[in-house]
Symmetry: C2
Subunit: 284 residues, 2 copies
Amino acid sequence: MSHHNSNGGLPSSSELPALSLSILNVEPLDEFIREVADFIHHMISQRPKDLEGSVEVEAKVGLLVDKHTGMRLQLPVLTETILAPNSIECRFESNMSAQQHKHYNKLLNRLLEESSSKIGYGHLYLKDTFYDSGGRGGEKVRVTKDEKTNSVLACTRKIRLGDLNIYSPKRPADWRISVNFEVPVPHPTGTSTHTRRKDRISYTHEEFAIDLTQVSTSNSPSQSTLSHELEIEISRPEYLVDAAYARDGSGSEEGAAYDELIRAFVNNARIMVRNADGGEGAWG
Amino acid sequence: MSHHNSNGGLPSSSELPALSLSILNVEPLDEFIREVADFIHHMISQRPKDLEGSVEVEAKVGLLVDKHTGMRLQLPVLTETILAPNSIECRFESNMSAQQHKHYNKLLNRLLEESSSKIGYGHLYLKDTFYDSGGRGGEKVRVTKDEKTNSVLACTRKIRLGDLNIYSPKRPADWRISVNFEVPVPHPTGTSTHTRRKDRISYTHEEFAIDLTQVSTSNSPSQSTLSHELEIEISRPEYLVDAAYARDGSGSEEGAAYDELIRAFVNNARIMVRNADGGEGAWG
């Protein structure tokens, strides 16, 4: 046996044999990304067909909290995995520390300054007011106003289609993928249940919006709670849905567009989760 | 909103914008492969330094069995993940059905016939006889003979360094990565405890051996049990160890060799696990 300090084992860099990716010369399919793609595809196919609306797909960074302990969920696994739906009593908290929020802000601003990265930027001040919709499932109607102009941007009923929770034991954050169906509705009447004021920085890149938001939620005029949210959203619902349908006629280049879209979506979410440490460093 | 049958959402293939892999234009690090690489690296550093021997790294395809139920382990997750060591009461059974074994044999033979794939092939008939070593940890000494020539190929004391169990809920098989330290020893005296006769087809590809083995284990002359095993082994322990040490002086091309080796090792194991369905089809 040769040792690490002998010259027997390791060729110098110029002699290194190029190693194939595998015995089949390809990377095996990423089953995590495939699971996410199949899930979103299924949710799209399950959306209400009798309503005009759009499919909203977003990944939120936060924590999975065990309902029994009130602490972050702990499972006996070492690497990121998707939880089986309805199998574990936990809730997802779409929140992070102010320090983490600031860290993301710095990282994303740095990316913005690099001209090559083609990132768009917008700073929005929004106020969401919620009303009972009286519809099935107890959904709320959300009225979104631009705080600066006080103009109504949208009145929407949001119908939850499904969620996937992703447990990420190596990182300081977990994440959730949510698929909702958003239906435009007339401005509601009656009394609102609560409001959410949002100070949002929205970074856009190709088909995605990365929204870093400070949210102040008020249930009464005298009480409000502050939270910090990070969401990655697929920007064009109609493109997503068309790509998902094109996937069914598989084998075509159009069919590959859906899987490429979901791959980039998952990659972006993972990059965000892996940079949730709130440190001062560069992208990890 | 445009619909899937409109022309609004999805450009034709010639117009498709090339989507970046992520906001950083790279794939995020595969944390599963990184975890395996760090684990094997740590095991290598923990090997006995006072003994001459070689580090054996292998992935075995089989089933994780819950010790309480006697059935395959079930966890509330949807995708492949590494179990935290000593957290779950389960054992790993390195076994499969004769049908699965035959299926792998067909798939690997087909690959062998494709001239471009550069696969080596050997058919070995081996007999392992085990003796108590009297050493620490109750290890056995294994004497391996070529059944055809009856010549002794090796006398080895195998010291277990560590295992990682990989739960694979989407597949009909789980897998385990084992790291052992094999020390050559003199031929033992005394009475053997048991024998294992191996009918092994060994496929080699670059730095790996894929061993498909039918094993007959005998504790007494009148009793034997048959099992079917599939193992992927890193062929050159000295190359592995040298590459692992070169990784420590990070940044160099030599340092990348270790991670490339482990990536191909994991890819090969995953490809095997994903083809454990025993069907008649091609590589999945």
